[in-house]
Amino acid sequence: MEIPYTIQARPDTGLYNGKLGIWLFLASEVMLFGALFSSLILLRTGAETWPAGWERLNVPLATLNTFILIGSSVTVILSWASLRLGDFRKAKIYLGITLLCGLGFMVIKAIEYGTKFSHHYYPSTDTFYSVYYMMTGLHGLHVLGGMVVFAYLLGPGAKMWEKEPGRYTNRVEVTGLYWHFVDLVWIFLFPILYLL
């Protein structure tokens, strides 16, 4: 029994199921992070004092992380482009770089957190740190989630390329969309937390 429009697009919507599904999921993610930004606005404007981001946080490290994430956004889409050209070897290399970038991002994040903890700056220290850990933490979990999927697509999931290349390509596209969204959140998170 086959579900229609798994690989081919449905004519009137122009979409295949996975693509519509991921965009709907991303819409819900917009609301998730939106709630966090809303909380930040309320807490920050309601606070008597609120430090500037650069006073408390490591801007150079976060800037490096921003470059890493943007770079990984490029590599994932180059991976998808390679698949559409039928070049599985290149696609895997790009996917691998994307995964490594994700790892790099998390490592730097770990260094950031570690440094803070060693100076006894915990989530419970004050509302600024609560918000910082909360938002970067949830974002980090999303990075991890993406990494798990990339690892799957490079590992056991790669077998699908032989039997159903179209379906595999769609999976990479859909994961790529998710990854771009994670990048998009960071594009807003970085200046709001670190630079303001």
Partner: protein, 632 residues
């Protein structure tokens, strides 16, 4: 006209040779199916078929059984509370042992235990019973069938949705075993109380995260399924209203739940990591200053909670409206009045539901501007509800009404939901709400909408679709008994609550408001109300017996026992699992409610959605039969 002998095959009349041809064709198709799919059938073990099924029909049944069990359990929690309300301070009969000394020393319910029952009753009813039943069970089983799809768009995701919900449910049940009991801060979990509460609250938050995740996965599935997998010819404006209702409901779940998920994580962090998202500076509890950074806002929680919880109440009612619409159209034997208006009203309702939430917060000190904004949007949102209810009422006019059990429940739904909706209006106006907020009036209002409202609609749906799932009808006599008893008792429970609320009795008081001397006349009503509640439980026994007994002994029926037009009745009776739903994907030729439409006769007073246009070689009609293949 020749007088040829005709044989009745299902709902059609055929000549003997045609009947034989149809039967042989049916057998041939079945053998072909078995030949093609015989192999996979044997490889799917019990676990894959019944535990981790990816078939939407079985998942729907899993949801239904689980949700109905939770419904009974949540009801039971309230029945214990009703003793305390009717006879405050008196030892509870029978159950004192079960409650134990920690909750009811000497059989007398402690205030903390009362709060625990209240918080968990609300949580379980809303998140573990009604929504999983309305969306997870009915939605999953019926929607793919009604749109002519072989399954949901993402069957594995569907399976995960169910199991994440089940795990969330187990976590909620486990929370009763936490040291100080389960959550006790209301289903609304307001901080600071919820942050300083016992461990059960943490379990509640974790459980909620699982339930919200399940809901999100499910809503993506529903939306993609409805948009992408509609059968050929099934345009949006030909969809059964039930599918429209599920469609908008899924949008609500998709976009409104995430803020609560975020808030839940923040409250968890407050409790576990010592953050102060919701704890204000200088909080003093029991005479002691709370050791927290402060700087947080309890109102932030309320905003994020109600941002979800208001759309959530429309999640509770929309599938119910969908079911009622289906049952009414079917049992009035005429199309719904104002189908288009109902659809547009539902879309508008869904949109508006996102901008009314702070009417739950009129008494939190909001300024007049923002208060006026939310009052305005709340008044506006009553319009689409009225449009839908009016259309359903008008659909009854000039009908050939059949009074079977599903129809009785659907009919009763209309005035009950009307009462629930109308009593909401004073609550939506800040001035009146000053007097009514947090009183029994509110409890009466929302219970009317959900209990004789949604739950009656769920009952209608169960009686209506039971023959599709099992191939047998439930017993009508037991059904009618169930209906009349439930209707009477449920009104005795909730109608007096409006009077109690107007008399000023607050909600969530463990002794029901004993200290309010002025309210004693109204308080006395608690006694008949509680008796009605316990009798309501007894009134469910014929239903429970009927539900299980009919599986074996119910009247056997064919694929379309109600003579209905929508596509789920074109599938075979009790469609088998794992094989898709239709022998051939149906093609839709007309709208969903072509009862007594031009081209029908007295004998065959409906045109199925996928039926060929009626041809009259000798004045007869040949509606599509699921098993007999029509010629192209």
């Amino acid at each position: 006209m020749t007088s040829r002998r005709q044989i009745r095959v299902g709902k059609s009349w055929m000549s003997p040779s045609e009947a034989e041809k149809a039967l042989r064709e049916a057998i041939r198709v079945q053998k072909e199916e078995e030949r093609q799919h015989g192999d996979d059938h044997h490889h799917q073990g019990f676990v894959r078929t019944y535990i981790f099924s990816t078939d939407h029909k079985w998942i729907g049944i899993q949801y239904a059984i689980t949700a109905l069990l939770f419904l009974l359990f949540g009801f039971g929690l309230m029945l214990i509370m009703r003793w305390q309300l009717a006879f405050p301070g008196q030892p509870i009969p029978f159950l004192a042992g079960l409650l134990g000394d920690a909750r009811a020393p000497g059989g007398i319910l402690l205030p903390e235990a009362y709060n625990e029952l209240g918080a968990m009753h609300g949580t379980i009813m809303v998140f573990l019973a009604i929504v999983p039943l309305a969306v997870g069970a009915f939605g999953n089983y019926v929607v793919p069938l009604q749109i002519g799809a072989p399954d949901m768009a993402f069957p594995k995701l569907n399976m995960m949705s169910y199991w994440v919900y089940a795990v969330g449910g187990v976590i909620m049940l486990m929370s009763f075993f936490a040291p100080a009991g389960a959550a006790q801060s209301g289903w609304t979990s307001y901080p600071p109380l919820s942050v300083i509460a016992g461990a059960g609250q943490t379990w509640w938050l974790v459980g909620m995260i699982f339930l919200i995740t399940s809901s999100l996965l499910g809503s993506v599935n529903f939306l993609v399924t409805i948009i992408q997998l509609r059968a050929p010819g099934l345009t949006f404006m030909k969809l059964p209203f039930f599918v429209w209702a599920q469609f908008i409901t899924s949008f609500l779940l998709l976009l409104a739940f995430p803020p609560l998920e975020a808030a839940g994580v923040m409250q968890l962090m407050d409790r576990v990591l010592g953050t102060s998202f919701f704890l204000p500076t200088g909080l003093v509890v029991g005479g002691e200053i709370v050791q927290a950074a402060g700087g947080g806002s309890p109102l932030l929680w309320q905003h994020l909670f109600w941002f979800l919880a208001h759309p959530e109440v429309y999640v509770l009612i929309l599938p119910a409206l969908g079911i009622v619409a289906e049952v009414i159209a079917n049992n009035t034997r005429k199309p719904l009045w104002g189908y288009r208006a109902m659809v547009y009203a539902t879309i508008f309702l869904g949109f508006m539901s996102f901008v009314v939430w702070a009417h739950h917060m009129f008494l939190t000190g909001m300024g007049t501007t923002i208060s006026a904004f939310f009052q305005t949007t709340t008044m506006i949102i009553s319009i689409p509800s009225v449009v839908i209810l009016t259309s359903l009422f008008l659909s009854l006019w000039g009908s050939s009404m059949r009074f079977n059990t599903p129809m009785l429940f659907a009919l009763a739904f209309l005035p009950m939901f009307g009462i629930g909706g109308l009593t909401g209006l004073p609550l939506g106006l800040a001035a009146a709400d000053i007097h009514l907020h947090d009183t029994y009036y509110v409890i009466g209002h929302f219970h009317y909408v959900v209990a004789p409202g949604t739950i009656f609609a769920m009952m209608a749906g169960i009686y209506y679709w039971y023959p599709k799932v099992t191939g047998r009808k439930m017993n009508e006599k037991l059904g009618k008994l169930h209906f009349w008893l439930s209707l009477v008792f449920i009104n005795v429970i909730f109608a007096p609550m409006f009077i109690q609320g107007l008399a000023g009795i607050s909600r969530r008081l463990y002794d029901g408001g004993e200290q309010y001397a002025h309210a004693h006349p109204a308080l006395k009503m608690n006694i008949p109300m509680s008796y009605a509640a316990w009798l309501l439980l007894l009134a469910q026994l014929p239903f429970i017996f009927n539900f299980f007994a009919s599986i074996k002994w119910g009247e056997k029926v064919g694929s379309n026992p109600w003579s209905a037009t929508t596509l789920e009745w074109a599938a075979t009776t009790s469609p088998p699992l794992g094989h898709g739903n239709f022998v051939e994907i149906p093609v839709v030729h007309r709208g969903p409610y072509e009862y007594n439409a031009p081209g029908t006769t007295d004998e065959m007073d409906f045109l199925a959605q996928n039926a060929e246009d009626p041809v009259a070689p000798d004045g007869g009609f040949f509606p599509q039969h699921a098993v007999a293949k029509q010629e192209a």
